[in-house]
Symmetry: C2
Subunit: 345 residues, 2 copies
DNA sequence: TTGAAAGCGCTAACAT
DNA sequence: ATGTTAGCGCTTTCAA
């Protein structure tokens, strides 16, 4: 029934003008009489014309799309970030496209390949596996803002949350409230490359150092990753080891949820026997039993900072090397039942 | 330092062949001597050439990208779906790109505009606001698979979970275990267009009808949406109304989490005083206190079905109208503590 | 105010 | 086995 796809030349024919005039009208460029403009718009409507974004991009080099490359979308973190970034982008005439790298090296390399990145006007990338050399080798030609803890190259803007400071805050708070044997659930020795885990572990150690309280390394329990399951498993393992503890700093709220479940399973009361603090300020924390004290990394401000840095370069035209910005957001603690005497109820 | 972007003609020059030969080698097409092939690949490597996907797509009409348009990424549902679809797509030589519509009409219309859809070889779309006319008007030119409960047009393949059957299963199970006053948290009267809420509500009513148990409409408590907060609020409201209940079918696991929190807040024991069943089989359910009985909608099979239907058309070439498929996945119940006597411990 | 020409980088179709 | 021609649909440049 319907003919082929309508293109600009069809509209030009229908309106009795050149394609250039159609292009000008469609893009709101000046230099078209009101009469001509009306005829063109009329033809566009009649024919149901829609510009071919691919062709436009090949010629003009602009797509209006910002790519967001994340390892996964499991938790609320990247999902929420995506939503915030998209809202901010929309208000500036862009939209956000999300791609999962799967947190694997191959996935990341594929996603940042020039071939797949070129369609984007700008890129927000949260790398977890690749290194500086990989990133440079990819030869990304669009403005990039990097996310996360790993310090890659010095050629890209980089925004990160205050993992060390937040963890220090969490730990200090429990120390102030009398805890002396605080477990570090999901903890790592402070060595090797920076990661969320090593940085938060560092904050835990800093707090102890400042308070003059020694760290019993048997309280540092690692975890495969930081899911609810891992948190549960780590606490069970600590419990079986027989090492006593009166506090737990759990590296993520998701893991803290599993930790709370495990503490309930083994009959330890929170906060009476064990104080618990998480990290991330996931919305769920307010509905756990008991409600979870946690560190709020201020993700909303982070999203604003990211978009501001990115669009500064995008709107300017070129990746514009020179002044690379490294921005660390600041964290605060949200106190709830898991570190306070339980409310009567 | 580095010159401009390397293009195919640069490679051709470097290798001393025509661009056509470069194109053939790069795309693995036959008809190039081993010697030539080697020279081309060598030049590609030396120059760091990467194909321009935009140009290729303009000419060849294929991008290798599958678009996944979802209302949001808040819960685990779409996140998990995205991961599954991506894995399946990768194994077939495609990759999945995620776009948020924000669950708004404008957001959906923008996302399905021909301009933004054209870059994709195929589309998976979960519509929540737009209607059949909008969808038709968008004039999507690529194969589409629709997701969700709303029955749109008859021109697109459609995959949905068994909301009615799953809800019936949940309700019947509690009725069999002796519950006679089952609250429907997040429930809706069965009228108007189909939605997750009306369909699951229908299952609740069907189960009652089959068991010959009348429904007390005061037990049907609606909720703004289906977040943890909403579930908490709805149970508190029901409790304040003074209407007694001995069971609760909560429309989503996320809301069930809030419902459990609310029941604890008001001193009702689960499952002793109130049995609770959720819906979705979120991974978190296993770590709630008590662990949540829920309905598993079999999302993994759903992802497989979606990709199979979509790529069938994509690989074939055209949207290929004709035989439109409507596929309903089947649900099962996962029994845990929230409907069983609590395990000792 | 409008349009003609040229070309973005690639590939299908047709030579050779 | 390799190259030439044409053109995907749009926009930049320059001329009228």
């Amino acid at each position: 029934m319907m003919g082929g796809v309508v293109k600009m030349s069809d509209v030009a024919l229908e309106a009795g003008v050149s394609t250039m005039t159609v292009s000008n009208v469609i893009n709101g460029r000046p230099g078209a009489s009101d009469d001509t403009r009306a005829r063109v718009l009329d033809a566009v409507a009649r024919l149901g014309y829609r510009v071919n974004a691919t062709a436009r991009q090949l010629r003009a080099g602009r797509s209006g799309a910002i790519g967001l490359l994340v390892p996964h979308l499991d938790g609320p973190y990247y999902s929420h970030l995506a939503a915030r970034l998209d809202t901010l982008a929309q208000s500036r005439g862009y939209h956000v496209i999300i791609e999962r790298t799967g947190a694997s090296r191959e996935g990341e390399l594929a996603a940042i390949s020039a071939e797949r990145v070129r369609p984007y006007d700008g890129l927000v990338f949260s790398p977890v596996q690749i290194d500086t050399a990989d990133l440079r080798r990819a030869g990304i030609e669009v403005p990039v803002v990097l996310l996360g803890e790993r310090r890659l190259a010095g050629e890209f803007d980089h925004v990160m949350m205050d993992n060390v400071g937040g963890a220090e805050l969490a730990t200090s708070y429990m120390l102030e409230r009398g805890a002396r044997r605080i477990a570090l659930i999901g903890g790592r020795p402070d060595e090797g490359v920076d990661s969320m885990a090593t940085l938060r572990s560092r904050g835990y150690r800093n707090a102890h150092a400042k308070a003059g309280v020694p760290v019993d390394e048997r309280l540092v329990v690692d975890a495969a990753s930081f899911t609810t399951i891992d948190g549960h498993e780590a606490v069970m393992r600590l419990r079986r080891s027989g090492v006593p503890f009166d506090g737990a700093f759990v590296l993520t709220d998701a893991a803290a949820m599993g930790a709370l479940r495990a503490l309930a399973d083994v009959g330890l009361r929170v906060p009476d026997d064990v104080q618990v603090v998480g990290f991330d300020n996931d919305a769920e924390g307010e509905y756990l039993i008991p409600r979870l004290t946690t560190i709020d990394p201020d993700n909303d401000s982070m999203a604003e900072r990211i978009m501001e840095l990115l669009l500064r370069r995008v709107d300017a035209g070129e990746p514009g090397d020179g002044d690379v910005v490294e921005s660390v957001m600041s964290a605060r603690i949200v106190v709830r039942e898991s570190t306070l005497a339980r409310a009567p109820g």
